[in-house]
Amino acid sequence: MRVTCTVNGRRQVADHVWEGESLLYVLRERLGLPGAKNACEQGECGSCTIRLDGDLVCACLVAAGQAEGADIRTVEGLAAEDGTLHPVQRAFLDTGAVQCGFCTPGLLMATDELLERVPDPSDADIREALAGNLCRCTGYEAIMDAVRLAAARRAGTGERA
């Protein structure tokens, strides 16, 4: 089948998609966007977290056909067109929240979504929002720092997404 959708603001067409493929497979293997990661492919780890019509989803749990006509945003669409990093990306680098980095794309998407909803999250808010994103390297301490820093910088600049 053919799947047509908008990914990071660009119209994309994937041909010869087998009906059993996930949106994650289509993004990674058919559209050349491997930023969303494939760590468990059963919705447990959050490494493939993307935005589907604004909603935070695990792309591995979305059948490719469900993406027809959808507006999709992946980690590849976070930075500005000129390459300037998104504040959340910047904060993850500045705090050492990236080690192996396999969980990072999903955590960036989830953090961005959290700060859209809750600009000044408490620690409990952060933990609740990121509970679906596993990280095996950092013990989450630097990730907590990154989210706090991103929130503080957003408040400091008055930025609103």
């Binding site: 087998w18 059993g20 493929e21 990674r28 293997e29 050349g32 966007l33 491997p34 930023g35 969303a36 990661k37 494939n38 760590a39 468990c40 492919e41 059963q42 447990e44 780890c45 490494s47 992946t74 980690v75 590849e76 976070l78 930075a79 990093l85 990306q89 993850f92 680098l93 500045d94 705090t95 050492g96 990236v98 080690q99 192996c100 980095g101 396999f102 969980c103 990072t104 794309p105 960036l108 409990a124 952060i126 933990r127 609740e128 990121l130 509970a131 679906g132 994103n133 596993l134 990280c135 095996r136 390297c137 950092t138 013990g139 989450y140 301490e141 630097a142 990730i143 907590m144």
Partner: protein
């Protein structure tokens, strides 16, 4: 063709300017936050096929017949291979060559690879594998010490020829290491207090997030290029070349992006299989394990049963310890012999123990093979000896920290192996640091608005499941400290190689660093660049991709890469610096140092820019670096200077337990660790935090459950639980820097020690909260509610 292993081949100076001691940013960080970093599962090649592995459903069975007809007939299938198709060597292994590339007439564990498929779509490959008809004849299995060593037990590897075969008491024992230290019988006669305990550690999984994966590309010269996530390129190459029937130079490996490792990538997984399929089909072959394949496709942490006896005087002074540590190595040897050596030699913990009888051994069973995981034999022992120290403290009515302080090892202490500890061992200091921290506030769920306000459920055990509003919750505090060796031990020729070139690019001096060290997330690339800046006084450092065109770096394991590859980069840089200074002296008659891109005299006078002195002639030098030699442990007495360096970490855990439901919330996990010298403080903190979280997982969550039938019950992230951000609390740190004069910059390997003591500290806290004896990890709800 798009292959992305050269993720680090660009200049690394985009965000970093600093030398050692600074928390410079990762050179690969920008690529990792933009999604551009090419992990091994992201690789792609025109015309590539997808490989898939068919695995045994049985833990022990004879293979009667394999029928490939239906699989080969499936459209899109390009090859189906069994052991009949192997071109050369049929077995491989890290220490013993005992593991079949593909099973021949027998399978020895559930998940053992039996056949391979290459197809044009991963789902086609999976379906073809399901069409392979294998006729198995199940055999009796061995699953623990008594079944493995019973009279008439099936011998899993008859006719062993490995170097431990002659010393083992039974052919189903991979390796056994006794250690005899002092005179236990005499000490026992003087003991005023004796405590005994039996402990058990479940099978933990490394559970890295990036699955086993890679891309094998057949080459025009008949060889193969393999782009892969591994911990040690050259040991993969050493095992692959005989299996492929190729000379080593035709088996070229390049590291692609590694999504975590923690020991699980030290053994081969898909490497040989992808290469075999690529060489058979003449097409590039990509293999990516799904999570279930991953659980079956790599070794795990050895589950262990440990029996300890501690004898002491009334004042707490330890007189003797005896222990017996039985590790389940599973179906193949992997690194079990070295794990046994660690468990035995580190089995007493970081304490002064004048007399000891120690025995550690690993079994061959039909359980999943076990091998390297962060902590490597020291984790299991630490849970047991620290549980014993708490038991002894309770028996004596002493504070557990005070008992540990009285017996703490220090510089000069002699290990049970007879090896003196010849660098700082601040065990008492680390414990004092964590003990001195203020405790986190009581009842953190209570609303400050008053006792009638609704509690914040998120701060309670059970969280938003709304299982408690504070009733039935008890708090406990526990302490533990551990000792881990750094580097490869027991006489292994452990070295790393670095090639460093200093050249002028665009008018600026640039250091080009090439090693084969596997960057697995820990930040080795960051510190290599920092070292080059410090030693050569440059800003710009280029890190070439890690591959087999440069000498071995050894493994990214044993907390060794900053010490070893850092040491190699340092030595190569020093040689380059000397060559540049010699060139400058020939020109100026003097030259003493390289600073900030300048060549300076002893009095600090700038003689020339580095770019001027280098001109069109780069300086390139390769150096190998070795740590101090070690000795094997004597097979009967265990005596020998077997270790290079020791690493120490202490934890204090605060937990809250819902005693009605058996739910545990770790409220805080404080750590103190000596790292000798923090080359990158932020990266060191990341290692301690990450290691502590894995220790938390072993304490209360993580276990691969294997039934007595040898079958794995939970090979998924749905059923194997690794800590989430809700499970891991704040982890305040104290980082000490007490130099080890034998090591580069005085540094001490840091990655593993925090994994040891986190587990027993948490369990000690749960014991204090509940009064339960708790002798097994992970602690499960049923252990706390009495419903087990």
């Amino acid at each position: 063709m798009t292959i992305g292993p050269g993720a680090l081949s660009q200049r690394s100076d985009r965000d970093t300017t600093g030398g050692i001691g600074e928390s410079t940013q990762r050179p690969d960080g920008h690529l990792k936050v933009t999604g551009e970093f090419a992990y091994s599962s992201d690789l792609w090649h025109d015309d590539m096929l997808w490989g898939h592995t068919l695995r045994s459903p049985h833990p022990h069975a004879a293979i009667r017949r394999v029928d490939l007809t239906a699989a080969l007939a499936l459209p899109g299938v390009h090859a189906v291979l069994t052991h009949h198709d192997l071109p050369a060597a049929t077995h491989y292994g890290l220490e013993f060559t005992d593991q079949p590339v593909l099973a021949q007439d027998v399978v020895r564990y559930q998940g053992e690879p039996v056949a391979l498929v290459a197809a044009d779509h991963p789902e086609t490959a999976r379906r073809a594998a399901a069409l392979i008809a294998v006729d198995y004849d199940e055999r009796p299995l061995v699953h623990d010490e008594s079944s493995a060593t019973a009279p008439g037990a099936p011998v899993l590897h008859p006719g062993r020829t490995d170097h431990h075969a002659a010393h083992v008491p039974h052919p189903n024992i991979v390796h056994r290491q006794p250690i005899r230290h002092g005179d236990v019988a005499a000490a026992r006669a003087r003991a005023e207090v004796v405590v005994r305990g039996e402990y058990e550690v479940g099978m933990q999984d490394q559970a890295f997030l990036g699955p086993e994966s890679g891309l094998a590309v057949p080459a025009a010269d008949g060889g193969v290029d393999l782009y892969v996530a591994t911990q040690w390129l050259h040991v993969d190459q050493r095992q692959l070349a005989p299996v492929l029937g190729l000379p080593a130079e035709k088996v070229r490996l390049t590291l692609s992006g590694v999504g975590g490792a923690f020991g699980a990538r030290e053994d081969l997984s898909m490497q040989a299989h992808a290469c075999l399929l690529a060489l058979r089909t003449g097409r590039p072959v990509k293999m990516v394990y799904d999570r279930e394949q991953s659980f079956f496709g790599h070794v795990h942490r050895h589950p262990a049963k440990l029996a300890y006896e501690h004898g002491a005087l009334r004042d707490g002074t330890l007189l003797y310890v005896t222990c017996r540590i039985v590790l389940d190595g599973g179906a193949y040897a992997s690194s079990s012999p070295a794990v046994v050596g660690n468990a035995a030699s580190l089995g007493l913990g970081p304490y002064e123990v004048p007399h000891a009888d120690i025995e550690a051994l690993a079994l061959y069973t039909n359980n999943p093979p076990c091998g390297a995981m962060r902590g490597f034999g020291a984790v299991q022992a630490c849970f047991a000896y620290e549980s014993q120290m708490d038991k002894l403290a309770a028996e004596l009515g002493l504070d557990p920290v005070e008992l540990r302080r009285r017996n703490a090892m220090r510089q000069g202490t002699v290990m049970p192996t007879g090896q003196p500890v010849d660098s700082p061992a601040p065990v008492a200091e680390l414990l004092a640091r964590v003990a001195a921290r203020p405790l986190p506030p009581e009842r953190p769920w209570a609303d400050p608005a008053g006792p009638t306000a609704a509690p914040d459920l998120r701060e309670l055990p059970g969280g938003l499941s709304n299982t408690s509003h504070g009733e039935g919750i008890v708090r406990g505090v526990g302490y533990a400290v551990g000792i881990k060796n750094v580097g490869f031990s027991e006489g292994f020729d452990d070295y790393s190689t670095a090639r460093v070139r200093l050249e002028v690019v665009g008018g600026e001096p640039v250091a080009v660093v090439h090693t084969a060290a596997a960057e697995v997330g820990q930040g080795g690339v960051t510190v290599q660049a920092q070292i080059a800046r410090t030693e050569l006084g440059v800003t710009h450092v280029t890190l070439l991709p890690a591959d087999t065109t440069v000498g071995s770096a050894g493994s990214t394991s044993a907390s060794r890469q900053t010490y070893m590859t850092g040491g190699a980069v340092k030595h190569a840089c020093e040689a380059v610096r000397e060559a540049v200074l010699a060139r400058a002296r020939a020109r100026f008659g003097t030259a003493a140092a390289l600073e900030a891109g300048k060549v300076v005299a002893a009095d600090g006078e700038v003689l020339a820019t580095l770019a001027e002195v280098l001109g069109e002639e780069p300086v390139e030098i390769e150096r190998e670096f070795r740590h101090r030699p070690t000795e094997p442990f004597h097979p009967r007495t265990g005596q020998g200077r077997g270790h290079v360096q020791y690493s120490f970490c202490a934890h204090r855990a605060v937990v809250e337990v819902d005693t009605d439901l058996g739910l545990v919330k770790v409220v805080e996990l404080a750590a103190a660790q000596d790292v000798g010298k923090a080359l990158n403080p932020r990266a060191v903190a990341g290692q301690i935090h990450g290691g502590s979280a894995q220790g938390l997982g072993l304490a209360v969550l993580e276990e691969i459950v294997v039934g007595p039938d040898g079958r794995v019950r939970n090979p998924s992230f749905t059923d194997y639980l690794i800590p989430t951000i809700l499970d891991v609390p704040g982890m305040p740190l104290d980082i000490l820097e007490l130099a080890d004069d034998h090591a580069p910059y005085g540094l001490r390997g840091a990655g593993e020690a925090p994994t040891l003591s986190a587990t027993p500290a948490i369990v000690a806290a749960i014991r204090q909260a509940t009064g339960l004896p708790l002798r097994r990890v992970p602690v499960r709800p049923e252990h706390l509610t009495g419903t087990a």
